[in-house]
Symmetry: C2
Subunit: 356 residues, 2 copies
């Protein structure tokens, strides 16, 4: 039988577990509905650094540090890191991981990066290639605006379909499943959640060209990965308590639900989008919602994982979504291909008793 | 025992094999010393496309197509792709992989990307997570100059320590080892080479800041990964017939050999650098050598793998090296962290009889 399921999925025979997480968020995110759940909220978005880019790197270092500290581990206990961000040549990751000194696989999946990092990390642990790995993704409003859009001081108007790049970083530590009734390699006997499977996304391009409406570009990729997951595992959407996309926002969510309805699936009650949870729509003026690698990563760590751990949700399909454009491809008139990586997260009975 | 060796390496109990490769090179590379070995040399560097970026994407598609065709496979036979390039947000990869429709893990390791792609690909196959995967990396002189340096028409002078970004793409197909005496899943009974192990690189930053001398920035990363590999596998440098770096160029090679000498290792006769092989130093005016993700990728496919297959080299440590800078990090005065990923490639007795 092995681990392979269908065209693109894996079911782990010995599912790795998430033993710890760290979430660091910016000021705006701290004032949003999830503000109380983050491990750390920056006092200002420069995070005490000399540039926005170094601030984003600092958040990676902090999120990794928090995840390590909560698990009682040091960086030397982590065999490999899987990390990425939105910036050209992944500079937030390169500078953010320097001091960790962990062998690093740099990843780019735009805002799907946390799904990609957790997929490859879980595969590595499930295969016995590491006892313990770190998966991490970050974004920063100011670094992303500088990279992709306008100078902040220009104060450009944004259409209602635009999303707001989340300032923040989420990190998880993934470990071999502890033996039944026993403790894992790090001495943690009540891990947060099991990663029972993954569905790797493929590039989907429906011809979208509007960089101020990335939800519309990404929804078909989310649709494709969710459908592939259900097909590969031979289950219906109700197998999951929640199907959680990364940063489709309001426009993308509507498209996803419509596409699903055409397949006879009603996702309206089980679908959640991290981008729609992280800001207060009425008060925070973020239009269609939040986006960026950090959006799904911090929402996962601060909000989703605790609800899986306490059994509110028994089984979740976590599907971060990425829009694969650059200023060069956009200015050359290209479309926006998208991708979504799916990770199956399951509740571990008895784990709700764990203290932070 | 498992697969883990030392701090950063894996030894595969059932080593995956490379069954096919495809190399596509640009015009300058076609006129260089390796010109006769490439599967395809473009007639012009636009590859019939409307932009340099689309030309690089076209080369990815072509290299993958050649590797598939040589193996008698179609894209549907490949479970996962691991690919990357040098451009911001990996646009060469996103557009180059669209039509392949293979679930994709996008990677960024600068010029170390081919080592990263082969490492993760081999891990995936060795774990039984895929019967067959594709690993691929590309670069293009004109897209890289636009991304990192000056407009081509400006005709800037380059110092002698600068390297020339290779236009080209290399792709390999990695498959489960066939049973002894039998055929592999694709019916290929004489694969090209075995991937017996990997050593994942970590970020190394010695404070280099000169983007026109990336060899000096990367040499310490190559040194670190090679030393880690020898330590993890408990072997001396002479265990390898060749230790082949990606694109250190002349300056970087001298530094690597000096660093090795300080450890009592003489690498002068077994070290080779892809960047120093791909151009004719006297006639092609490329100064310190070639560089870019495509440099090590096409040299691997066109020059190194055939010499492993025919037994000229029995065991090779392939160590592509990456300089992790962007124009933003450079302009903000940051250093250039570097990384190198090591892949152990071994000759398969009897495989020299294989025909293309």
């Amino acid at each position: 039988m092995g681990h392979m399921r269908g065209k693109a999925s894996l079911a782990f025979e010995r599912p790795p577990v998430i033993i710890s997480s760290g979430s660091v968020a910016g000021t705006k995110e701290g004032r949003g509905p999830l503000g109380a759940f983050f491990d750390q909220v920056e006092e200002d978005d420069m995070a005490g650094e000399a540039s926005w880019e170094l601030a984003e790197s600092a958040m990676q270092k902090q999120a990794a540090g928090i995840a390590l500290k909560k698990a009682g581990l040091s960086h030397g206990d982590i065999r490999y890191a899987f990390a990425g961000d939105l910036l050209g040549q992944l500079i937030a990751t390169s500078f953010g991981n320097l001091e960790l000194e962990i062998p690093l696989f740099g990843l780019y999946g735009a805002c799907s990066t946390m799904g990609e990092a957790m997929s490859l990390g879980a595969m590595t642990v499930a295969a016995g290639f590491a006892d313990r790995i770190l998966s991490m993704a970050s974004s920063h409003f100011a670094t992303a605006e500088k990279q992709f859009r306008f100078p902040l001081a220009y104060g450009n108007q944004r259409p209602m379909s635009a999303t707001w790049t989340v300032t923040g970083c989420g990190a998880v530590i993934i470990e071999k499943e502890p033996p039944a009734g026993g403790e894992g390699a790090s001495g943690i006997s009540r891990p947060i959640a099991r990663i029972t499977g993954i569905t790797a996304g493929r590039l989907v391009d429906v011809g979208a060209r509007d960089s101020m409406n990335m939800g519309a570009a990404m929804a078909p990729a989310a649709f494709h990965t969710i459908e592939q997951n259900l097909e590969d595992f031979q289950v219906s959407e109700n197998w999951y308590d929640k199907i959680i996309t990364g940063d489709l926002g309001e426009v993308g969510r509507r498209i996803l639900l419509d596409l699903m309805k055409e397949r006879g699936r009603d996702l309206s009650s089980i679908h959640m989008d991290c981008g729609m949870e992280i800001y207060d729509k009425e008060k925070q003026d973020t239009h269609a919602g939040g986006s960026g690698c950090g959006c799904s990563a911090v929402t996962l760590c601060a909000y989703i994982l605790p609800r899986i751990q306490d059994g509110t949700w028994k089984r979740v399909l976590f599907v971060p979504t990425g829009a694969l454009l650059s200023t060069v491809s956009f200015n050359e008139g290209q479309t926006i291909p998208s991708i979504a990586h799916g990770v199956v997260l399951e509740h571990i009975p008895g784990s709700q008793a764990q203290k932070k």
